[in-house]
């Protein structure tokens, strides 16, 4: 790993927040030509890496600060066997998604970096501490938001509109998809926009159970169409196409599954303009006398030293929770509201995807001919929301849509695959053969409407091991989300019934069936963008209203949480914002 950038200067631990500027910028600092970064970016996940790529490509000198350790996907145990891992790779509190999952130093908890949930709230927060962040193990599902999704308030009077429309972001979706590689098709379905000509890669063929479910869907008017995922189905530069084996959550060292550690970060490095400092836990933004951002302050985890890094523009992309935390922990002139928070919206409007799911068993799939169904290690088919017209006509109760992520088949048998059998010996062996490949899952991924009960704030009583005040989450679903779960339950029952199947989980009341806040790991919204400084934290270009050279390029800026998974939109917004930052840097405006 590269040593710390030369511009990072030590200062004593425990120094107050109201540092005289002379000490930040002053004599103590050894300045060389190398010291001056055009941009300091916090976080190396989706939002931070896209900014680093765009800015270095435009010629800017960039320092990227990442709290986690360096990571090279050559560490990914792609084809390694479950039997060689402790506990056959089963999830544990140390590695909740399994031993081979790419997550490093993370999960639902990080030792000595606590968070809390308010009395009566349940919220769980998935973090990693590694270069590339959660892009190393995300599922790569990449669905664009549509025209309705940017103007939800206009449609139904709930939540707020974005300050941009679909048309504003559409060209950036195209550029992002072309750059990172996304498979899928243009379905022409309502509020599921098409990509530009030649943008998408060919999707992989449907597996047999997906064809089966499609037949049921066709009969009921429920669309079952090719999914969109950030996975290559042909070679792109040095990145190889998918080789149809290995779970993508382990990381993809051949570069087929998009993650920033095999793409944006190495590409930015190739420009010679990117300096990466890992093990750098940022906790506040530095301001100069005029109130502009001049850099950030961080803990160098290896030495425990507190350091500073300086740049002409500061980009926060530490993830929705952490970006809000950094702003709330920055107290310019001792102001308790935090930085860029004149609207009072920092930390507010926290949203996650609505989740629930069913497993179903289909006797007619028993004993079907076996072939390799690993495929692209994830969705080949999905069910986009299909009832916008019914919503508009007031025919159904849920005001907002969801999609279903579906799958099942001849998967790798695992340690947790064999509940619910009976007996022993030869009879048992026969049952296993019979049932293999006859199970199929339906997962709801739905839109949540922001509400006043869901937010993050600084927990006045808790600090992490670095002494940084931690987050406290507040959470409460509303009746809108419960109505949506019920709609999903009925739709799955109908579909499974038409296909002669049986649900394997009981149908619970929506309030019990719904996911815990944060559980779907699509948290967004804590620094939403908007049309006015009064009601939002950033403008339509991800720039904070209060600080002219401070940008937020992660999911924190989302004004709504469409049912579409957020990352492709984080990437497109970051690309668009970074293009604008690059122009301002070039013209000397920053």
């Amino acid at each position: 790993m590269s040593p710390g950038p030369a511009s990072a200067i030590d200062f004593d631990e425990g120094e107050g927040l109201d540092w005289p500027d002379s000490r930040i910028r002053g004599e103590a600092m050894v300045t060389t030509a190398d010291d001056k970064f055009d941009a300091v970016i916090v976080g190396s996940g989706a939002g931070g890496s896209m900014a680093a790529y765009m800015l270095t490509k435009a010629g800017a000198r960039v320092l990227m600060l990442e709290a986690g350790r360096d990571y090279n996907p050559d560490e990914a145990p792609m084809l390694n066997l479950a039997k060689d891992a402790p506990l056959r790779g089963a999830g544990t509190p140390d590695k909740p998604f399994g031993y081979y999952d790419a997550t490093i130093d993370g999960g639902w908890t990080i030792p000595d970096e606590p968070y809390s949930a308010a009395e009566g709230s349940e919220f769980i927060w998935w973090r990693t501490r590694m270069l590339g962040g959660r892009t190393n193990h995300w599922a790569r599902n990449s669905f664009r938001m549509g025209p309705y999704d940017f103007k939800p308030y206009t449609r139904d009077g709930l939540g707020v509109d974005w300050p941009i429309s679909y048309d504003d972001l559409s060209p950036w979706y195209d550029k992002t998809e072309k750059l990172i590689g996304v498979y899928g098709t243009n379905t022409g379905l309502e509020n599921h926009p098409s990509s530009g000509p030649g943008v998408l890669l060919d999707p992989p063929k449907f597996r047999a159970p997906e064809l089966f479910v499609k037949a049921g869907g066709d009969a009921l008017g429920i669309p079952v169409v090719p999914a969109r995922r950030a996975v290559l189905t042909r070679d792109m530069d040095k990145r190889q196409q998918c080789y149809w084996a290995s779970p993508c959550g382990r990381g993809c060292s051949i570069g087929a599954a998009f993650q920033t550690t095999t793409s944006l970060i190495p590409w930015a490095k190739e420009t010679g303009k990117l300096t990466i400092q890992t093990g750098a836990m940022v906790y506040e933004v530095l301001l100069d006398k005029s109130g502009k951002a001049s850099g950030v302050r961080y803990v160098d985890k290896a030495s425990g030293a507190h350091r500073e890094a300086q740049g002409r523009v500061v980009v926060l992309a530490a993830s929705t929770g952490e970006t809000a935390r950094i702003l709330l922990n920055t107290k310019p002139n001792g102001r308790s509201e935090g930085l860029a928070n004149s609207s009072g919206q920092v930390g507010r409007n926290l949203m996650d995807t609505v989740g629930s799911g069913f497993s179903a068993y289909f006797p007619s799939l028993e004993g079907r001919p076996i072939y390799n169904e690993d495929g692209a290690g994830g969705l080949h088919a999905y069910i986009p929301f299909w009832q916008y017209k019914e919503i508009a006509a007031g025919k159904i109760k849920t005001p907002r849509g969801y999609h279903m992520e579906i799958g099942g088949g001849f998967g790798e048998p695992g340690i947790g695959s064999f509940g619910g059998f009976d007996g022993y010996g030869a009879g048992l062996r026969g049952e296993v053969k019979k049932r293999y490949g006859a199970r199929f899952g339906f997962t709801q991924r739905g839109e949540m409407i922001p509400n006043a009960n869901c937010y993050a704030e600084i927990d006045g009583e808790q600090k992490d091991k670095f002494g940084i005040p931690t987050l406290k989450f507040h959470w409460k679903w509303s009746e809108h989300e419960y109505a949506q779960v019920e709609h999903f339950q009925n739709a799955v029952k109908e579909l499974v019934d038409r296909l002669g199947g049986t649900l394997l989980n009981e149908v619970k009341p929506p309030a019990e069936a719904i996911s815990t806040g944060g559980e779907i790991i699509h948290e967004v919204g804590t620094c939403r963008m908007g049309a006015s400084a009064k009601e939002s934290v950033t403008n339509s270009l991800n720039r904070t209203w209060d600080v002219d050279n401070l940008y937020l390029t992660d999911g924190s800026v989302f004004a709504s949480k469409a049912h579409k998974n957020p990352t492709i939109t984080i990437l497109a917004l970051s690309m668009r914002a970074s293009d604008h930052i690059a122009t301002r840097l070039r013209t000397g405006e920053l």
Binding site: P93, Y99, R207, A208, R368, A381
Partner: protein, 242 residues
Amino acid sequence: MPHALIQKVPSPETLEDASLTIDRRTTLRWLAAAMAAAAPLAACGETKSGFVWAVPQPITGKGYGKDPSLMDPIVPWPLTLTKAELAACAALCDLILPADGDAPAATAVGVPAFINEWISAPYPDQQADRALIIPGLAWLDAEAKSRSGGVFAKIGEASQKAIADDIAYKGKVKPGMEKAGDFFARMRSLTMGAYYSTQEGWQVIGYPGNTPGSGPYPGPTPEAIEHIKGVIEKMGLTYAQP
């Protein structure tokens, strides 16, 4: 539950976050466990035969941590089953999955060693299994001694089956043996999971994956297409490619 379920843990065909929904209760339990002080396990009581389901010594060591080597995994915790327990465990594993034609027996692919690794792990799920399995193995031996005068591993298949038949079938567990029934069910799913997740097990079940290919994904074989088309049409539905 009308049909037994093949539950998914994250696997190649895992949906996005599918594991989250399924693992939610586990997750919350872990979090709760992390937050609460470790409560002593409740004593499990006595069965009719006078056998005591004694609570085993819990494991207090460390796990593998949050950044273990994925390329060279090691099991850092000591294994704790005694020789006698391992013998009973092996006999039971082979009763559950005996050799069958080309299919090896559970012991031939190392299942008892895996059970030992599992119940010796310092994690909450494994600790819960430990509290069921260690006394369960002792129950097997006690039961075998009282019925056939020897430990479970030594009484021969017929006598072993006689015991298993009392505890292996849902809804038909012999009254008073409910705890042993739970033990058997847990041993069965662990044995099956450990067995079918080996390459030998893949062969037996027919899992053909984890094999890199090239070119486009081939999709279902012509035979598989014919089959699914038939299934679809038999239900009065229409087969169509996307």
